[in-house]
């Protein structure tokens, strides 16, 4: 009975767990390992040229091995990245998160991405999509209030003729763009209401890309969250 081989599924799970632990440990030691090798090079440099060159070789080998480990294991081992760039099949239908601010007359305004700075808009919408629904309701509402305040502060800035974001504070038009280029909805005071926004709404906008190619209005807005709650 004892020497009976365990079912394959248990072996696989055990392997995955051990493998997962190994990968986790690699992720933990990747940066300290790099620091150790940097320290080794700096110490060797003070001692002798041959030692320095050996230490440099060690540093190079580590950089190559760690980069390849992150790449081939397909896992980030910070600071070594797996470079998972654009690696996705685009599904049909698809959706995007859309944030709208609502004024006292119940008119809805698409909010300019610069309003959320210092948060980057692509990161914020991803967080709203995945994390907002699973945090406690009180936390959701504090976030909702924060978003509403941000929208109103930016609205006042725009009306006063000041920049609405903070990213371009040093470089102006030469500011490095974000990974995804969002449309600048708020360009002049005519793009926002004269009175404050009263509500913030987060939608999931669904559309079938093939149908929308024929009819641009072929999409559906599902309300995911609103503040204050109605």
């Amino acid at each position: 009975m004892c020497n009976k081989a365990p079912p394959v599924i248990y072996v696989s799970l055990g392997f995955i767990m051990r493998f997962g632990t190994l990968v986790f440990l690699l992720g933990v030691v990747a940066f300290p390992g790099l620091l150790l090798l940097v320290a080794n090079v700096l110490i060797a440099e003070r001692r002798s040229k041959p030692r320095f060159r050996i230490a440099i070789q060690g540093f190079i080998v580590y950089m190559l091995l760690a980069s390849c480990a992150a790449g081939f294991l397909h896992t980030d081992l910070p600071p070594f990245a797996r470079y998972n760039v654009f690696a996705q099949i685009m599904t049909v239908p698809t959706y995007a998160i859309r944030i709208r601010a609502v004024d006292a007359l119940a008119r809805e305004y698409d909010v300019d991405a610069r309003v959320w700075e210092p948060q980057s808009a692509p990161e914020l919408v991803t967080w709203l999509d995945f994390d907002l629904p699973v945090i406690p309701i009180q936390s959701q509402d504090r976030v909702g209030q924060y978003l509403l305040n941000q929208a109103n502060t930016a609205r006042l800035r725009l009306l006063a003729g000041r920049p609405i974001g903070v990213f371009d504070r040093y470089l102006g038009p030469l500011t490095a763009p974000e990974h995804v280029m969002f449309k600048k909805y708020w360009r002049s005071s005519a793009d926002v209401p004269p009175g404050p926004f009263k509500r913030i709404k987060v939608y999931r906008e669904w559309w079938d890309q093939h149908k929308r190619a024929v009819d641009p209005n072929s999409y559906r807005l599902d309300l995911v969250y609103e503040y204050p709650r109605s």
Binding site: G71, P78, A87, S120, T126, V166, A176, V180
Partner: protein, 321 residues
């Protein structure tokens, strides 16, 4: 035979990493890497993320916070570190104590790198600092201030010709990191999606999605044009995969580099104009060029200047009265 094989391998290894290099190549690498990081850094507000309501951080694990020493609720401290990073990067660009500044800014970029996405991602990469942080740390271990620097610092030890190996390896390492970026980007696509990623259908769906989403609208002409001319976008997936997989060849062949690097830049321009997706590291491609000529030009200018001064002095001495 094994010994012969080993020594041949060692020769190749040394030839690749430690061949005599130009201090100007290393200096341009320092300026390109630190300059790119500085450009991104001046275009963000990482310390502001620390000031966000704590509710945003609820799903960020303690492990992730400790891994990067990045915690919510310390905007003043983060602001000071942000200013320090900007100063260190600017000094690295100008060549003011470049080795110290490269090391400091490399470590600080590790800290700030995930600041934008830490609220939802446990490991935050692809925000523009992956290559700069590793490159700056490598540059800190090399004589990167020997050319094009305002105040190199150190003991001012003169480099002999036999030391010129130390100019080569950091440049090679940065080139290798760029190659990893492309190669593993292609590898990830195959791991995550298989060959279907490169299918014309997937390319079309991506194009449709990014051109129809009216929130993403920096450039609006090329995307719809491509959709009307499938001949141009159908091979895009296969071409992109081939380009990315073959990018490491640039390390070994100048001819390949002369083709693949402009091709990669062209690919990024098309992606930007058609899909509004931006990558910020192309300035680092400057590490593939040979900048030794800058040294030669500067030397010959200095020589000309010296000759002119010499001639002037001789004329003064020769003139009567």
């Amino acid at each position: 035979m094994t010994r012969g094989l080993l020594s041949s391998w060692q020769r190749r290894w040394n030839g690749f990493w430690f061949a005599p290099g130009s201090p100007y190549n290393l200096a341009v690498a320092r300026i390109a890497v630190a300059g790119t990081a500085l450009w991104i850094f001046l275009s963000r507000d990482f310390s502001g993320v620390s000031a966000l309501p704590r509710d945003f951080w609820l799903r960020t694990s303690l492990f992730t916070e400790w891994r990067y020493l990045l915690f919510p609720g310390h905007p003043v401290l983060e602001g000071a570190l942000q200013d320090l990073t900007i100063v260190a990067l600017a000094c690295a660009v100008l060549g003011i104590l470049p080795r110290t500044c490269c090391l400091l800014s490399g470590l600080l970029l590790y800290h700030f790198g995930p600041a934008e996405s830490i609220i939802w991602a446990s490991t935050a990469t692809l925000r523009g600092f992956e290559i700069p942080q590793l490159a700056l740390i490598a540059l800190a271990l090399s004589p990167c201030g020997d050319a094009l620097s305002v105040w190199p610092g150190g003991k001012g030890r003169k480099k002999s010709a036999e030391d010129s190996w130390s100019y080569q390896w950091p440049v090679r390492l940065i080139q290798a990191q760029l190659c990893f970026l492309y190669f593993f980007s292609a590898y990830s696509k195959l791991v995550e999606c298989g060959v279907r990623w490169a299918s014309p259908e997937n390319m079309r769906n991506w194009l449709l999605t990014l051109t129809q989403n009216d929130q993403i609208q920096g450039f609006t002409l090329l995307g719809p044009w491509l959709l009307r001319h499938p001949l141009f976008y159908v091979p895009f997936g296969v071409v992109a995969l081939l380009l990315e997989f073959s990018f490491p060849v640039t390390l070994f062949s100048r001819r390949a580099a002369a083709i693949l690097i402009p091709a990669a830049v062209f690919m990024h321009i098309v992606i930007l104009l058609a899909m509004n997706i931006v990558v910020l590291y192309p300035p680092i491609f400057l590490v593939f060029a040979d900048w030794g000529f800058v040294g030669r030009v500067l030397k010959s200018a200095a020589q000309d200047n010296e000759n002119a001064l010499d001639l002037g002095e001789r004329t003064i001495h020769a003139s009567p009265g």
